[in-house]
């Protein structure tokens, strides 16, 4: 990875945004944005599965230690990190690329494929996270509404972060 510094900064920004801002905003009981999985979305295409797993572990542990829940963030983040390569192949079809490397973006993967990849990855994380948090079949309507609203808000914030950070992460230092 040629732009490690930019990725470390992105990691810090995403974690700080989640801990210091999003966890303290109570817009509605239906919308609790969890956006830190955007880091996994934005990891370079050539990142190995092992490296992805370690990034997912670091991200999950950081969030668990600061959010006061043992394991919840880690158990939601690890599968997304582990299956990221499969998601990428299923949603973005990399066979057309000359070189599978660089930051995933609409320019590199194609607009539709990039959106599909982002939405599937973020939605998978939100689904695991909220299912494990709820752990009940009570109030299933409320749970579904909360999952859908939270995913929509998280995606909006994730796209904002992608828009801001894609040029910085793409720079070769």
């Amino acid at each position: 990875m040629k732009n490690k510094g930019a990725y470390i900064l992105f990691f810090a920004v995403v974690v700080a945004l989640q801990i210091l801002v999003l966890n303290h905003i109570s817009v509605s009981v239906y919308a609790a944005p969890v956006v830190y999985a955007v880091l996994i979305v934005m990891m370079p295409l050539e990142t190995s599965q092992f490296a992805m797993l370690m990034v997912g572990l670091a991200l999950g542990l950081s969030m668990d230690a600061t959010m006061g829940v043992e394991g919840l963030n880690t158990l939601a983040t690890l599968p997304v990190a582990f299956f990221r390569r499969s998601i990428l192949h299923l949603t973005a079809d990399l066979s057309g690329l000359v070189k599978i490397e660089g930051v995933p973006s609409a320019e590199r993967l194609g607009r539709f494929r990039f959106h599909r990849y982002t939405i599937v990855t973020m939605s998978l994380h939100e689904t695991i996270f909220f299912s494990m948090e709820w752990l009940s079949f009570n109030n299933i309507g409320f749970f579904i509404a909360r999952l859908l609203c939270s995913t929509a808000v998280s995606l909006a914030i994730a796209y904002l972060l992608i828009y801001i950070f894609t040029p910085k992460l793409s720079c070769k230092s």
């Binding site: 230690a65 006061g68 394991g71 582990f82 109030n139």
Partner: protein, 279 residues
């Protein structure tokens, strides 16, 4: 042997993933409100200053509204004090003793969650300010909010009524029949009031207050009012919905209540009871 090494080489990432995931699931499954509050207390010791700075800024903008509300509250309490003075012209020792059973500490809320099944608030006072675990937490109006579950030197974490692990006893103010108040997720303004006798004279709008059975809350504090009720499936008890009196989502200040007699009562209760007929 070569095949085994080849297999491990091909699958080691998947093996690591499965092991890590099992550890994470196990950690989450065994997490309790206590461990959660412990982690929050740790988090507060690291991020407490940052939370406080954020809280101070937003608090500054609500000061005017807060002043109006506090002035109204002072007037109301002055009126109540006058009534009490008229009712108790001579203060006996037992009354004075009773008045000193509870000590009150005012504190600010620097972090609050209402979006999770287990919600907590973080308070800007800790052990150095006389806060200790199991102190009751009330809203400035005197409505039940929760109780302190963990303290650091300068901060405390309290479990609120909006926590699926919290149970507290309540009784109908008009009728005296008691039941169990608990929140089961969803609407942050409404909790359940279960196990109320089917012979209770329950009506919509009836106030639900604390029973005083627990060591946390003084008796007679308002929890909320009955919004709806129905008999349970076996027709043996009432199950009611209670609109909570405290607006926990907008909580800025709280009052902590220390029951100075709690330890004495607990010691007494823990002593072995004499058997019937024993000499």
């Amino acid at each position: 042997m070569y095949r085994l090494l080849y297999f491990i080489r091909k699958t080691y990432v998947a093996i690591i993933f499965i092991v890590l995931e099992i550890v994470a699931i196990r950690a989450y499954a065994y997490s309790t409100p206590y461990t959660q509050s412990r982690l929050l207390a740790f988090s507060n010791s690291v991020f407490g200053g940052v939370y406080k700075a954020f809280g101070d800024v937003s608090y500054y903008f609500s000061l005017r509204k807060e002043n109006v509300r506090l002035t109204a509250r002072i007037a109301e309490l002055e009126n109540r004090l006058d009534i009490c003075r008229e009712m108790l012209p001579v203060q006996t020792d037992s009354v004075a003793e009773m008045m000193h059973q509870y000590e009150y500490i005012a504190a600010g809320v620097i972090a609050n969650s209402i979006n999770h099944p287990q919600n907590f608030i973080t308070i800007d006072k800790g052990i150095n300010n006389g806060v200790r675990t199991e102190m009751a937490v009330l809203s400035p109006e005197g409505y039940v909010v929760g109780y302190v579950v963990n303290c650091s030197d300068n901060f405390a974490v309290a479990m609120t009524l909006l926590n699926t692990d919290m149970r507290t006893s309540g009784r109908l103010a008009t009728d005296g029949n008691s039941g169990l108040v608990r929140w089961q997720g969803g609407d942050s303004a409404v909790a359940d009031f279960d196990e109320v006798s089917k012979y209770a004279d329950i009506k919509e709008g009836d106030m639900v207050v604390t029973t005083g059975f627990s060591h946390y809350f003084p008796e007679g504090l308002t929890i909320g009012s009955i919004e709806s009720f129905s008999l349970n499936a076996s027709q043996t008890t009432y199950k009611a919905r209670v609109r909570l009196a405290a607006d926990i989502a907008r909580l800025r200040n709280v009052v902590l209540v220390n029951n100075t007699a709690a330890d004495e009562v607990r010691d007494l209760e823990s002593k072995p009871k004499p058997a019937w007929g024993a000499e």
